[in-house]
């Protein structure tokens, strides 16, 4: 599926991409929220039914009002309390944000939630769904009016380098200065490609596998030239494996050693 990103650029020359949530993910989150709302209303219905033994009209009235207040207020309250997240959005790692990366205002939350009345027309969020499919920033009408976007923070899995190396000897480690040069020259995207290639190595056709690792290895060789004794007898795939190992594993070891020395320990990653 097509994933859109929105690039936020600060005057300091920093740019970072935000992953926009797709209409399908948002619909799933919406379904979760719907279930929560129905369950809450049902619970209130049970509670109010007890009042109903004393004053039936009052209980029905309260139920009507509660139903209405919860369907409208649920999104507003949760998004305000949790800075742009409802329960469904939390589950699917979505978050409402200001379209310019500024702080989300209360009025923005109210408007985007009240405009569900139009986005929900004529049924099943047809208008809103179409709008978010067509809009470049995947906004439904409520998001357009409130100037908000919904972004996705996918869970980043730690690369499982141990699974690749499994206690194997890595000849590149004997040359720390060259490893440092390699780590400095390899871009994040290149490292990710190499890692993915290794993780999926069994899914390739044999010829394609040899070709791919040949290309990767020659690229890494051009970035940092290791002496012959370090690379002698290594196949291209083993070479790439060693490179990935020094790129990714160094971090874990450093964090472990830093744990003893203090503040450089692995940095916690808070929500935006």
């Amino acid at each position: 599926m097509k994933t859109h990103t929105l690039l936020i650029q600060t005057p300091e020359g920093i740019a970072f991409p935000l992953l926009l949530a797709s209409p399908v993910t948002r619909m799933l989150a919406c379904t979760v929220d719907l279930v929560v709302v129905i369950a809450t209303v049902y619970l209130i219905g049970v509670l109010v039914a007890m009042v109903g033994w004393i004053a039936p009209s009052l209980s029905l009235g309260i139920h009507l009002l509660a139903y209405f207040a919860i369907t409208i207020g649920y999104g507003i309250a949760t998004e305000w309390l949790w800075r742009g997240q409802t329960l469904g959005k939390r589950l699917l790692r979505l978050r409402v944000m200001d379209a310019q990366g500024l702080r989300l205002q209360f009025s923005q939350i109210v408007i985007r939630n009240l405009l569900r009345f139009v986005d929900g027309l004529p049924a099943f969020y047809l208008v809103g769904g179409l709008a978010s499919l067509l809009s470049p920033r995947a906004q439904r009408l409520g998001d357009l009016a409130a100037n908000t976007i919904v972004v996705r923070h996918p869970a980043m899995a730690e690369p499982d380098v141990d699974q690749l190396m499994a206690g194997k000897f890595n000849s590149l480690r004997d040359h720390p200065h060259l490893v440092a040069r390699l780590r400095q020259r390899v871009s994040p995207a290149e490292a990710a490609i190499a890692l993915q290639a290794l993780l999926r190595r069994d899914e390739f056709e044999p010829a394609a596998r040899v070709g791919l690792f040949g290309q990767l290895a020659s690229h890494f060789r051009s970035l940092a030239a290791f002496p012959l004794e370090a690379v002698e007898g290594l196949t291209d795939e083993q070479y790439v494996r060693n490179v990935v190992d020094v790129l990714f594993r160094a971090r874990g070891e450093r964090a472990a050693s830093a744990d003893k020395s203090g503040p450089t320990a692995a940095v916690p990653y808070p929500g935006v």
Partner: protein
């Protein structure tokens, strides 16, 4: 540039932690005002974190630190570049008695337009029914209004039993919910460049005009006033205000008379829309109570003169409230 990441992180980490602490305080307590020194410090920390991010951006081996810094810089960016004032304290009374009427007056043009459209609908509905009484079924799609007004009046006035006995709370809740829904829809339909709002207002006007002419033609003007005024004096203006909000939204979308960008136009009216629709909801809660507990009682239980006087008083008070309340503050401000 080769950086020793361990050393780099060790040196910069205290600054990131400090920035995080400041941000957390600002985010949890919006009323907090920073001193000039603190603001300078915040800006310094923000720039420092930005520079660190730029340094680490190209490093393949530190995705977590990069993401952490990105998130930190994004939060600081939001705090530093945010120029809108956020309401930091809940002040419902000040909001209702000052902000709400002030907002109403600021966008008076939209209210007049909303009123004119509704009047247009009234005139059309009234005229249509007057000229073609057979069109009643089309103009007023409500079961209880299909019969002859005179017969209904006779029936209601004869009724000795309270037909709403024991159901008044339910009825008033139903009215509140229904009317607030219609109001929110009227505002939200502004997203159709105001066309939806205009149609909804006009249609409401048609029904109102048709009902009025139906009763007046049948010689039941007094009953009509006694029946509609107590709640209508608040309910109808409330719907007009919701229409006002919808028209404001429509105008912001179209962009009449301003050179600001669409995003900016929508950003500017956002808080006003929320204030208006909130005020409308409060008015409709009142109207719901009145309609269920007062409007459905007629002579001889409740003299029409009292009901009409009650409605007129409400209308006068509402007009005074919307035109006068919170006025000094505006005068002082300008």
């Amino acid at each position: 540039m080769i950086i020793d990441l361990a050393k780099f992180v060790a040196e910069e980490r205290p600054h990131w932690t400090e920035l995080e602490t400041v941000l957390k305080r600002l985010e949890t307590d919006p009323a907090h005002v920073l001193a000039l020194e603190d603001v300078k410090r915040l800006h310094h920390l923000y720039q420092r974190a930005s520079a660190d991010l730029a340094k680490i951006m190209t490093s393949a081996s530190e995705p977590e630190i990069r993401r952490y810094l990105e998130s930190l810089v994004a939060r600081a960016y939001g705090e530093i570049h945010e120029t809108r004032r956020s309401p930091h304290r809940l002040a419902p009374l000040a909001w209702f008695f000052r902000t709400f009427p002030q907002t109403f007056r600021r966008h008076l043009w939209a209210f007049w337009l909303s009123l004119a459209i509704t009047f247009g609908g009234c005139a059309f509905g009234g005229l249509a029914l007057h000229l073609d009484p057979g069109a009643k079924r089309v103009l007023m799609p409500f079961e209880q209004l299909q019969g002859d007004p005179a017969q209904r009046v006779a029936r209601e006035e004869k009724a000795r039993k309270d037909r709403l006995a024991g159901a008044k709370t339910t009825f008033s809740s139903f009215l509140m919910v229904n009317n607030i829904k219609v109001s929110i829809t009227a505002m939200a339909l502004g997203m159709t460049w105001g066309i939806g709002t205009i149609i909804l207002l006009f249609y409401n006007g048609v029904i109102l005009g048709a009902v009025a002419v139906d009763y007046v033609d049948a010689g039941q003007a007094k009953f009509l006033m006694g029946w509609l005024l107590p709640h209508g004096a608040v309910e109808i203006p409330a719907i007009l205000l919701a229409g006002q909000a919808g028209l404001m939204l429509g105008r912001a979308l179209i962009g009449w008379g301003t050179r600001a960008s669409l995003r900016r136009r929508l950003r500017e009216i956002g808080p006003d829309l929320v204030t208006l629709i909130g005020g409308v909801a409060v008015l409709l809660v009142w109207a719901g109570f009145v309609e269920a507990f007062l409007s459905q009682y007629h002579e001889p239980v409740l003299p029409y003169s009292i009901k009409i006087a009650f409605g007129v008083t409400e209308l006068v008070l509402l007009t005074l409230f919307l035109t006068r309340s919170g006025l000094q503050r505006v005068g002082g401000g300008s």
